[in-house]
Symmetry: C2
Subunit: 106 residues, 2 copies
DNA sequence: ATGATATGCAGCTATTTGACTGCAAATATA
DNA sequence: TATATTTGCAGTCAAATAGCTGCATATCAT
């Protein structure tokens, strides 16, 4: 497990993506998060650690409980990677629009 | 190697991300792509296969050469995953704007 | 026809991953 | 104080990953 501090590695796992999505609504404790999965609590805890290591999650203590919450800005790294591709598919769609318009004007 | 047809798994590898970025400019043959890396041609070829398997790449033949090109629309799957998070970080930034405006109006 | 080039596929190997269990520490509750 | 709850950490293990080499096939050039 050890060193995996890469955002792209982090979101490669479907369980971790589910955790991230789950946290869009509210901050949750590891126990509460794990309750939603069939895997063991420790397994989910490791996934949380990985997400926290690459700063996709932040946390704060409340007694013995730890609340994990999203650090949505970190997701921008992924968005930034996609951006150039988005430009391409937008272009393709615009070209399609243009063709459709030309057809319409006939 | 075998079964990895998931877009998120595909972009987890930095070499594969580099290949994708490389192909934003133009379609390239496996040989041309591999020339940009230190890894062996066969290794790069496997990465290309993985990208093609999950439909991030398309290809067409030209004699014995095979040109691989982006299927940018497939990248939308990733964009769609990020969308909800984007909404959150936009909200945060808007809230910040609002606070700054309130300070300005005093 | 012969040799060179471009490519994919099969097989091997070290490392990484994701799951599990057990245990220890810290905090809450009775 | 004794017990229960919440959490993290260490260790184990099977499967997956990413790299390599060797080889077969198809096409181009001489």
């Amino acid at each position: 497990m050890e060193v995996r501090r890469d955002v792209f590695q982090a979101i490669a796992d479907p369980t971790r993506r589910a955790i991230l999505t789950m946290l869009t609504l509210q901050a949750l404790t590891p126990g509460a998060i794990a309750a939603n999965f069939n895997s063991s609590r420790q397994t989910i805890s490791k996934h949380i650690q990985i997400l926290a290591e690459c700063e996709l999650l932040r946390h704060h203590y409340s007694g013995r409980e730890i609340y994990y919450q999203l650090n949505p800005v970190k997701m921008k790294e992924i968005a930034d990677f996609i951006e150039p591709f988005k430009a391409i598919w937008d272009t393709r769609l615009n070209q399609l629009d243009e063709i459709l318009n030309q057809l319409k004007n006939k």
